[in-house]
Symmetry: C2
Subunit: 552 residues, 2 copies
């Protein structure tokens, strides 16, 4: 039996186009002799469909596209496994389903049993859980079919069980020749290797071959890396699809053909950084295009964050579609303008210089009566950032070009950013990238686009340039100190005393950083959607109250 793992990039809600794409791909796999072509979780509707699932028309459209797919694939020799949003049950909730299509018929259906409801996942909001697994008998083989989380509760692999049942174990008990898992499993650092290691252990434990087919592509904050694979019953990798690109690979369970080298299970730090870079390129491209834009604008300060964002955007959209805008103000250095222009020239993009000094003076005059007798403070600093944001948005409105924000995760965490200023934009490209990781990504960027991030940008100390001789380190600890604290507080959810002890820092210093994180929740709730690349990004997967008093 020949199985095609068909890892496609879907647009949420574009049911007809997604189904067309599935059909096209099924025909190609058929030509390559596939007996079974497997598509990802919720392939017909894309993932995550969110509240679209609560509307009857959306669910009905899923079912009718599924029927069309069955009809229009009837002449193919390959059978299809596809994911779709099923009808609402008595509770009013839909089911997250897969269907097997063969010779024009819908021959098997299975609902997802384990519904992830944590971090970025809200499946209990949308779906009712399936009640039991069943084996699909297909051309003399017994196939176990699971959907994503169904395979993530192996009690020999996890210290703690989230759920009381293990659908994989139940299927193995029923006796199967092959386990298939269709997924919409988003990327974050290290996830590819982890996922593969988990499935290898599962295959070896149950002595059965396993194929996982994952979505690929960006949908709002989530980036699906693809990275589909198949392992044999001893847990050896036998087939592997690309990461961060569509791909279809064929695999014959039982064949001893070698897969490309198995690098993810021992991912190097350098490989991880490359993957983050690729993820951001894909996430940027898909967000811009799936929103119906082709062009993007980046405000270029001459600092590393905006240079990195510019390089990523240019790789994602092409140099003809990106415009960099330098907006020098009263405290901008000449070097910053030179550095910004350096990136633009290296990337071959349009570059505009629009100074904000006259607008700043107009505002000073306009506010003078109200501000009389008061010393300059954060108000004047933020004003400069907001005049820049307003400039970018005017260009965006005039040229139908999406503004990309350039803030990193460290800044967003502690609120070292101006709401309605440098936070203006449709997508926050590196808002889940800690500053120290931004430097590593800059090296990847420069390998691929020499000169994209000038050496002087990497050498100078970070500064917002909103008052004379300002440096980030005036207000914050060095990023090498800050980032590990933020990682433990935001990603690991540790308390300030635990972090102080683990890292050997004074409690008061850690507590002050924790307070900054908590106090700035209001800014993050109005931030542009940001691409997720860590295990815990700000955004849909992290939900804290604004008006709250708990000190962690």
């Amino acid at each position: 039996m020949r199985v095609a793992l068909a890892q496609l990039n879907f647009t949420v809600g574009d049911l007809e186009a997604n189904t067309d794409r599935i059909l096209q791909c099924a025909r190609e796999a058929n030509d390559q002799g596939a007996d079974l072509t497997v598509f990802p979780e919720l392939s017909i509707c894309g993932y995550p469909p969110l509240d679209l699932v609560t509307t009857a028309g959306f669910r009905d459209a899923n079912e009718s596209q599924l029927r069309r797919l069955a009809r229009e694939s009837a002449s193919l020799d390959t059978a299809l496994v596809v994911g779709y949003c099923g009808e609402a049950g008595e509770s009013g909730k839909a089911a997250n389903c897969l269907a097997c299509l063969d010779q024009g018929g819908i021959v098997f259906r299975q609902s997802k049993l384990l519904l992830p409801t944590y971090d970025v996942f809200d499946e209990a909001r949308y779906f009712r859980a399936g009640e039991q697994t069943a084996v699909w008998e297909f051309r003399g083989r017994r196939i176990g079919l699971t959907i994503c989380e169904d395979a993530w509760n192996d009690k020999q692999f996890w210290e703690r069980s989230r759920y009381s049942t293990d659908p994989v174990e139940e299927l193995a008990r029923q006796g199967i020749d092959l386990l298939v898992n269709i997924s919409a499993s988003p990327y974050h650092v290290g996830r590819r290797g982890f996922r593969l290691a988990m499935f290898k252990a599962m295959a070896a434990r149950h002595h059965m071959p396993v194929a996982l087919v994952n979505q690929v592509g960006g949908n709002d904050q989530l980036i699906f890396d693809g990275s589909s694979f198949a392992v044999d019953g001893s847990g050896t990798l036998r087939a592997r699809a690309l990461s961060f690109a569509e791909d279809v690979v064929c695999w014959e369970p039982g064949s001893a053909r070698q897969a490309p080298q198995d690098t993810w299970s021992e991912e190097s730090a350098a490989g991880d950084t490359d993957a983050v870079y690729d993820a951001l390129v894909l996430g940027t491209r898909d967000y811009v295009r799936k929103c119906g834009f082709s062009k993007a604008l980046v405000g270029m300060s001459g600092g590393i964050d905006s240079a990195l964002t510019t390089v990523i955007a240019t790789e994602a959209l092409g140099p003809g579609n990106v415009t960099g805008v330098a907006m020098p103000g009263p405290y901008s250095s000449e070097g910053s303008l030179i550095d910004a222009r350096g990136t633009a020239e290296a990337m071959g993009i349009q570059f505009l210089t629009i100074g904000i000094n006259s607008a700043y003076r107009a505002f000073e005059a306009q506010l003078a009566p109200a501000f009389k007798g008061l010393a300059p403070n954060i108000a004047e600093e933020n004003l400069q950032a907001r005049l820049r944001g307003t400039t970018l948005m005017a260009l965006s409105n005039k040229f139908q070009s999406l503004v990309l924000t350039t803030g990193n995760k460290s800044e967003l965490a502690v609120g070292y950013c101006t709401i309605y200023g440098d936070m203006c934009g449709g997508l926050a490209v590196i808002s889940d990238v800690p500053k120290t990781l931004a430097y590593k990504l800059a090296r990847v960027a420069n390998e691929r686009h020499p000169g994209g991030i000038p050496q002087s940008v990497l050498d100078k100390p970070p500064s917002a340039e909103l008052r004379p001789d300002q440096k980030d380190s005036d207000s914050l600890p060095p990023y090498e100190v800050l980032d590990p604290i933020l990682r433990l507080y935001v990603e690991e959810c540790l308390s300030a005393p635990e972090i102080a002890e683990r890292l050997g820092h004074p409690l008061e210093m850690v507590r002050e950083i924790a307070r900054m994180v908590d106090r700035n929740e209001y800014k993050r709730q109005q931030a542009a959607p940001g691409l997720r690349v860590t295990s815990k990004a700000f955004g849909m997967g992290r939900r804290f109250p604004i008006a709250q008093r708990h000190v962690r």
Copy 2:
């Protein structure tokens, strides 16, 4: 037996202060002879605690405050029923619990069985469900204890069951003398009457008296109305607490004392409008204060939305704490400035006039090279709104005053608002108020604050005044037509064809409005938190993808 229904206003995460407040109130109820004092759901930690629940320190602090509460209330004759966040179980999820404290001991605990996971509720994300109900034997009575949703699955009341079990029915089957429900049930239009009617039916069906104790106060987007009550075993109202204010009422099950008139079960439209007004005042006051602010700023255009927001803010915070800011621009009319000043004078608040013309001209000049040869369009209109937003934020930064945004729900739905412009602010006071409801609220406002909203504001056609002679009706259908369409699309989740048929409108017109709603999701995801007063507000309870293509 004398039961005190203690409806308090808690701050999320302020566990020690909340517990102090519970203790103080228990002592007062004790002095009034209460045998049992009942507090709302999650009273120790406030509702909704969101991701705070996922941190071990938060759960531990709940338990230690609960133990302190038991110790420090040991000398009271009254027993206490309180809600708290319980410890994490094997799955890693906490429990939404209640505890009964008597004579210094924690004598009974019960976990919530039904976990709402829809609209604004994410309880399956945070909590594991309790497995069974038990009867609490207290001083010779059998008391059934339930937590909010536990009492919302009566299959004789609802057409559809969300859950397979009905804890109230199970308790009734075990035989109880009294049912207690502790709630954090947020307000929306008509909710008070609905809730009461449901509990009356339940009490009458099972022939048992029922007491419901609800939280009161605003927490971010949610406003809890309080409105606690007790009904006897025939379903007759016997005790009732205030709406939108803290209150403690005592009730003796079995006593035939009459309650204040039962108005909610047949709420009039006028009464509902009063309630929305009260809800917005409470929500504004609590958000501003619980965020640590005392002062607020409102940009006053001379239109009804900003006038209404100003009146609400002044009632919430006091005239000394509110500043109105008029920011006339190139297309502002003289009448608008007069109207804005009229509201400010009627309300007795500080009023600033800061024109944006010189800043606008500076921007025109700064953008002239980039905009050369291009006609004025939305870019110049939005620019004016953004210069106003930037002005307000400068004042906010300088005077530590929270900006209140003034946009209504109709505008936010169709995107008739400027992101980073009039959408700037910490709280969107009327963002869940459709424009037609804003006119009704203006009448309530004027009854309470004569002249607060000048007659000319009510009479003139709505305009954003961002280009010469602009009217809202140039771009949108009249609000009397628009609002019912939006209600069906946003609140009822109907499709465009269903709405066109129900209201007798051309499909293409409804579809265009639906498209505007969908296309502007990106703005709403960066909007300030808005106070929820309808059954479906934009914000935490409505989650649609931005980059998506489904046409409803």
